[in-house]
Structure formats: C-alpha cells, structure tokens
Amino acid sequence: MSTRWFGQPIPRVEDERLLRGAGAYLDDLGHDALAAAFVRSPHAHARITDVDVSAALDVEGLVAIYTYDDLPDRLAEPLPLLIPHPTLTHGRTPYALARDKVHHVGAPVAMVVAEDRYLAEDAAERIAVRYEPLPAVVGIAAARAAAHLVHEDVPGNLAARMTQSTGDVDAALAAAPHVLSLDLAIERSASTPLEGRGVLARWDAEARRMRIWSSTQTSTGVRAAVAAKLDLPLVDVDVITPDVGGGFGVKIMHPWPEEVLVPWAARLLARPVKFVEDRREHFVASAHERGQLHSVRVGFDDDGRLLGLDVRFWHDHGAFIPYGLIVPIITSTQLLGPYKPGAYRVTFDSLYTNTVIVTPYRGAGRPQGVFVMERVMDAIARELGLDRTTVRERNFIEPHEMPYDHGLVFQDGRPLIYDSGDFPASLAKLKQLVGWDDFEQARETARAEGRRIGIGLACYVEGTGVGPYEGGHVVIETSGKVKVATGLTSQGQGHQTVFAQIVADELGVPLDDVEVVTGDTRRFGYAVGTFASRAAVMSGSAIALAARAAKEKALRVAGDALEANPDDLEIVDGVVRVVGAPGAEISLGTVAVLSNPLRYAFDTAAQAATQFASGDPAKPPVPEDDEPGLEGRDYFSPMQSTFANGMHAVVVETDPDTAEVKILRYCVVHDCGTLINPRIVEGQIHGGVAQGVAGALYERMAYDDAGQLQNASFMDFLMPYASEVPSSVEIDHLETPSPMNPLGIKGAGEAGVIPGAAAIASAIEDAEGIVLTSMPISPSELWELRRSKETG
C-alpha cells in the first residue's frame, strides 16, 4: 500500500521557498512598471470645492494625474454593491475617486502616476485640494443620534434594519422566572495583514488583453469587476494572485478603487502600472471590522436553561457598505453557538459613520456574537450561583438532536442547520485539558502568594465552507506529474500542501509529483474566493472529485492497454497495476501518452500514441463522449454550510498593582471534522488565538470625534508581538466528520480567533470579581474599573 497522506501532519511544501526568501509578492513584480500614489482625504467628511494640480506638474517623472472628472463611462459610476439584501434599503458605495465629497479620512481623491513611487508621492504632496469640512459622524452613538448624516439621502444613517426570530420572545421573557439585561460592546480592529493591498496591471495593446496581478482573496471577483468597469470581454482579462502576505478578510473586498484605476491607467498610458499600499494607507483606506454595541435581554429558569433571548445590536459599517450585511448577519445567527436559545429574536441596525468601511475580518461577526452569548452564560451562572460549565452543559444542543435546525437564515441565504458536532464531549475534553475542576486549589495557592489568577471559557459554532461553489482541475501529464488547479486564492493557508495530500491519495501518486496552482484565472476561471473558512471544504472537495474523474479515466485507458478490467486495477506510486498479477503494470505517464491519440510523436515515449502504433480500427481515435488527455474537472456545491465548533479555556494572572494581564495557559478543543493535516490546522489555531488575544487585550481603532484615526501605525495600533501571545497553545481535537462533503471536513481557518475576547473576559472577570461588558480591555481600563468598584 502506498502512504495515505490525508491526515498526516506533514510540513508545508510552501515553506522552504517562502522561508528562503524566494517568494514573489506583489511588490516583487513589475520592476518596469510606473508607480501610482493617491491623494487621500485628510477630512472625515467634507465637500471638495477645488482640486488644483498645477504645482505638481513640474515634478520630474510625473506621468499623469487623474481626478473623478477624468473617469469615463462605467468607471465614473459608483463601485458595485457586492452582496445586496432585501433589507439593505439604503446601500451606498463609493466612487473610485471622490466625486464632490469625501466621507472618511483616507478616501482617494486623485491618482498620481509617475516613474516611481517617490516621485508619485512628491507630486501628490503638491496637489492642493480645497475642502469645505462637514460635521463628522463618528461612533455608534453619533450614528444613531443622527444629528448629522453621512449621506444626505440616508435618513438616520441607517442602511438596513433586519430582524430574525423563532418562537414568541416577548411571551417567553414575560413568563421566565429570571430575566437579565446586559449591554455589551466590542471595538473596531482590522485584518492588518503584513502585506497590504497591491495591484499591477499590464495592457497588451496589440492583443488588446489585460493582465493583472493583485494581492487579493478572489482573482475571479477582481477579473469580473475589471472587465465590467473597463468594458473588456472577460476572456481578455487575466487575474493572477502572486504570493499573498496574508488576507484575513480585508482582501476579499473587491474591486478596491485601486484595482480598477490601475488597469485603466495602464491601458490609457500603454505602460504597466503598479500600486502598492503602504502601512499608513492600509489603516485609513482599506477596511476595519468588529465595532458593535449589543443590548440583550435573556430569560431563564432556575436551572439556568434559556427560555428566551432578545438581542438588539448596532453595527458600525463605516462610510459605505459595498460588502453588504454579511458581518451583522453572521453575528445575529452565530451568536447562538452550541446552545438552544428557547425563543429568539435578533434585530440589528447597520449604520453609516464617517470612518473606514467594514468588511469581514477573520471570525467575521462571530467574535462579537460569541462575546455576547458567553457573557450571557457567565451572567446566568453568577445570578444562580452555578458553575459556568454547568450552565453551558444544560443549554447544549445534544448530539442526538443533529442535524439541528435553528429556524433562521444564515449568511449564505440557506437555512441555519447544524450538520454535526458533539458539544458535551467537547466540553468534557476541555475541562479535562485545562483542569477546570481543580482550579480552586490553584487559585488558593496563588492567593497565598499574593497573586491573582482566574479561569474562563467560551464556546462557539462556526458555519464554514459557504457556497455557492468551487471547482478543481487535475491533469496527469505524460511525465507522470500531476498538475492541479483551483480558482480560489491562497494567502498562506498551505493549500498547495493539503490539496496535494488529497490528490496524492485519490490518484495513488507520490506527493512530490503533485503541483497545485491557485488563484490564477488562466488556469481556472470559475471560482468564488478564499474566505469563510471555505477553501479546504470547497476546493478540497472539488479537487477530490476532479481527481476521482481523472483516475477513472486513467483506469479505463490502462485497462485497454493491459487488457484488464478497470475494476481489477489499482494505482500505487504512480503505476497502474493489475491487482494480484505482478508485472502487469503501466506507469501513469504512459497512460497519459495513450490517452491522447497522436499523429506526431514529440519524443520516444509519445510514439506509443501515434496512429500506426495504437488504436482500435473499429472505433474513432477519440470515442464519442470522451476527450483526449488524462484530466478531470469537477465542481463542489453543497446544499448549505458545514458547522465546525470549538471551546477555549484560558487562565490569566492580573497584577494587583499595575493591572497588567498575563495569559498563563490557553487551551483549545477544536472540532473541524476530519483533519487533512493536523499540523496546518494547529497552525491556523495558533494564528487565530494570536488574533483573539489581540482583540481581547490590545487592538482597537482610536478615532477621535473629528474622525481622525489617532493610531494609524504599528507604534500605536497594538498588534501583539510574539512576546504578547501565549508561548504555547494546548490543543485537543475532536473529529466529528461532516456529512456535507465527500471528505468529511469542516473549515478551520477562522476558528482560533472567535472565542478569544469572550474567554479572556471570562477569565479576567473570574480573577478580579469585576463584571466586564466591553472588550478589548487595557491595563489602564482594568485599573479604572477596579477604582470605580472600590469607590462604589
């Protein structure tokens, strides 16, 4: 038997190349390209009264300056509203360059193209834009108050109000023996990948074709948008994703203004043009997420069982809403976690503010929802004097209740039905892993030493692998090597490794013989993108199906050659052989030769497929219903998402004097169905936990009342260093296979981040005896909370 690669914790095949510095990121390409830089608004809200470029014109190396007035046809229309929704009654999207008004600091006003980026910035600095400042709407309170409007034609700053419910919440709360009200807040953060956005475009004037490289999470999305905006046939636009230095959601948004402006300029100037976003731009001109306020009423019985849950929340989506309502819809559905809420009603308002737009950031609305639900669980435990795990256990959906239908609509427009999961088993594992039942002893020991420690936990369920579809293409070449392509992109997930593991198993070939290409529309033109923890589920499944199709054909062709029934054949290490008949074998490469009837031999091996060497004279060389070559292509499109879950427990120590918070232990129990590569899954968890810690203790977007982002650098935006994240994350896996796809897998990309703020809040609360209602929390804020508790 050959090795089974699926499930093996093999090292990533990508790493040697990347760690040796041989990666090619966007800015490593296009050294011959002109550089674009942007004049960006210094005001959160203002009317543009004049743009004077005259002082910039004598900058040596300047090639062109463009403002809104230069934009032709469809480029002059607002950028697309990507995901419309019936409740999104007042959806507004920006123009590629500001027209008359700016709506947030960082909005692009003019594009400068010059021989290099230094010169482009020199010219940009000299462009004088006159603004007439307007009142800025900053923060949810101001947006709700609506004393000023972000868009004159959007009353109340309200883009959408959406309600979902099951059961009669009002009756349930009226009848409940206990009712609690909580107000809970999560602040803004952002994806902040180490590589910002970037795009390079080359226009081939002779072929009238556009080739674009973009640091994106969706090459097919960018392709469609550019073709539409520039009025080009789709077949004449190629979009290629080079190595991408992280995405975390911000790069699923498309087209960015720069993604359509740069190709347009490249065509106009007949020269390659490149834009590479710098860090300061990334803070004010990309996307943020997480900012939400929640007001909750919960009714429960004497045992802590939920009877009714009424959630009202307000989502700050920034100045425009191109990505639609995905984030608040996820919050409103995934808030339920592993629990049965009794009657449930959720209503959210999605509000405009004069700040950077919101697009999903790893976790995508779930960290907020989980924070809300887990704060509710802790509040019930406190109210009834129950252990926090007991309250959770009593509200779990039981394994025998799967599939569990919540009676709500999920972010993909499909029903919210959990396909599988064993929550009691997960919690039992977590309690054992962290030593939950022995913690009081540890607390007493610490207290005797003058130290304060606390323990917390949080549980979540995550819908992963959303549709509509992905596809895969597998070609076995005459060399015996296998070339695999899928349309979605990679930003560091290790797709080349896990997809190769899948194909190597399906085909019976050595792992090293499998090469995977992602995110290149020249290789695969139909795709959605990499987001929502969907790549392994969607493309992994599609590639498995494609490999099965290729294998079926290989066995058929080999069966003809070996005069054997395909059912009696197996493929081991790239060789097709007759089971139980040693020596009756043929290499996959030779099968590939035979699969393609030739007139002309291109090498000695190929002679076997030429017209005087092979073929049944009774049949056409390529039979009806067949194709030349050894290929498989297939698509995977599930009925609905598949639901992964996990539970985190954390032990913290708080300094009695300085209020610094130190994470002593971080434990994770994780169920993402069948594991393709445990090492990669654990890497995803590590990265997610780091971002969870970031959202709990460090990162926030500090806007002042005028809409200026005061911490737009890594000096003041506190992305944690390696020194701030737990030095080890203790992980235990549970594998309940998904029935929704051929491999039994569920997504794992976002999981680690989701319960971070909730679990850490629970632990700090446990250490301090202070109720926490908003995250993140800094030592200064914890110290102030202590003081208000002391002074009553």
């Binding site: 980026r117 230094y118 910035e121 020199d122 600095e125 710098d278 860090r279 300061r280 004097d657 300085t658 209020a659 610094e660 460090y698 500090a702 005061q710 911490n711 000096m715 003041d716 506190l718 944690p720 260093y721 020194s723 701030e724 800094s778 030592p779 200064s780 110290w783 102030e784 003081r787």
Partner: protein, 287 residues
Amino acid sequence: MKPAPFDYRRPEQVDSAVEVLGTLGSGAKVLAGGQSLIPLVSMRLAHPSALVDINRLRELDYVRVDGDVVRIGALARHARVLADPAAGAAQPLLRQALRLVAHATIRNRGTTVGSIVHADPAGEMTAVLALLGGSLRVRSSRGERNVTAGELFLGPLESDVRDDELAVEAALPVLPPSSGTAFVEVSRRAGDYAVCGVAAFVRLKDDGAVAAARCAYLSVAPTPLVLELTDQAADPRAAGEAARAQVQPEADLHASADYRRALAGVLTERALTQALAAARASGAAAA
C-alpha cells in the same frame, strides 16, 4: 511613505562632518541609526533639506570606561553598549535600561547617543542620563562644549544640540561604592515605549542609611523628570506615595493620567526596593 527629496552627505571624518553641518544650515539632520528619523522622514512628518550620514565616522564607534566615567561614542549602537562588559560592570544601570530599549533589531541599528539627542521623554536613555547627571559632548566648527543633562532636555523631542553641532559622546559617571540602581517599566507590548518607567539610584552611608536616592521617570513629563527621594527611600512604599504626589502625567491613547500616576508610585516602590537591595549587596561586597 517615501521621503521627499533631500540632499545626502556622508563625511568620512568628524571634522568634515562638523564642517558640512556648519555649511548646511538649519534644514540638515544628522543620520546615525535612523530608527526614529527615517520613519519620520518616510512619513513626510519631517522634511530635512539634507541628511548628514555619520555612519562612516568609525572614530565615534566606541564604549570605554575612562576612570570614573563611561564614555559612549556617537556611533556606538545600543546592542554594542548593552554587550560591553566593562561598561556594564562600571555602571549597571546601562544594561538595566538598554534591555528595555525597543527590540533587538532596533538596538542593532539605533545609537545610544542618537536616542539621547532625540530627547524623547519616553526614552530610557534620556532618563539614564538625567538620573545619573551625565553629559553630552557636542562639536561644531565653533569648537566643543559639554551639555549637562540638566541643560540638554528642553522639551519633548527637543534638545540643546544646535543645527551646526554634532553630538560626539555621552558621558556617564560610574557607579559609586555602596550604591545600586534599577530600571523598571510597564509597556503595552514588550519593547514598546513605556506607559511609565522608573530608573532608580541609591547610595548608602557606611551605617547602611540612605545617603542619596533619586528616581527618573519616563512618559510622565515633557522632559525626563528626576525626583529627589533621599528622605523617603528607606521606606520604598512611602517613596512611591511621594512620587505619586509629585508627577503630573497626561492621558494618551494607552493610559489615563491617573493610571500613569499610580504606576509612577508602584514602579518607584519596585525600583527603589531593587536599587536598595543592589546597594546593600554592593556595600556588603566591599566590606
């Protein structure tokens, strides 16, 4: 984040550097490690007309103990000063402070004299100079002068080094007998500018009583603040209370003013406790 055009000079000797500075006028800035200057220039928050790169002035790349003074040349990187055994033995506060200066990659480029001239009230080395009463030697075509710590720090990011002057050396007294130092700080992330930091110096009399004690503070005042705490130091908690009463910090993105003030008290207590212990150990070793 690309700098605007500037003139670039890279003299090979101190004399020519000083001459270049004398001719360039007020728009020129000295480039040593560049760890503060380059980001400011790249973000176009600073617009120097010229950068005078002193990285070729090998004659300024030294750390030496010269009698009762530790001398640090203008091209000595933090990492080199941190690793210098003689300087570390002669003045332990150097190591105690330098390990808190940013991160290893920054210490490999950034210079100790450069960070002193930068005069950031959140900088560890400005506090060290202020606490120990060190001085800076500056040279221009007009000659040389010594600037004491008391005269040097004029305001946040503003030091008394004139446009035509090159800081060539920082001088710090070695640790006297029966003395001890400590440096403690609270920062949001390891290596970040401190939310509050305290450097402490204690000297004991022969009978073990406190002869002198003072603390220098980061991030609580526009310039490095030094508090005289000789009378309180025997009881660090009381000294902490005294410090808390005397500092007037401001709020920023990372901390409230009251929290900073509380930290000043807590860290004073911790720093003095450590410095006292070090001083006692030093006295015991001498006896």
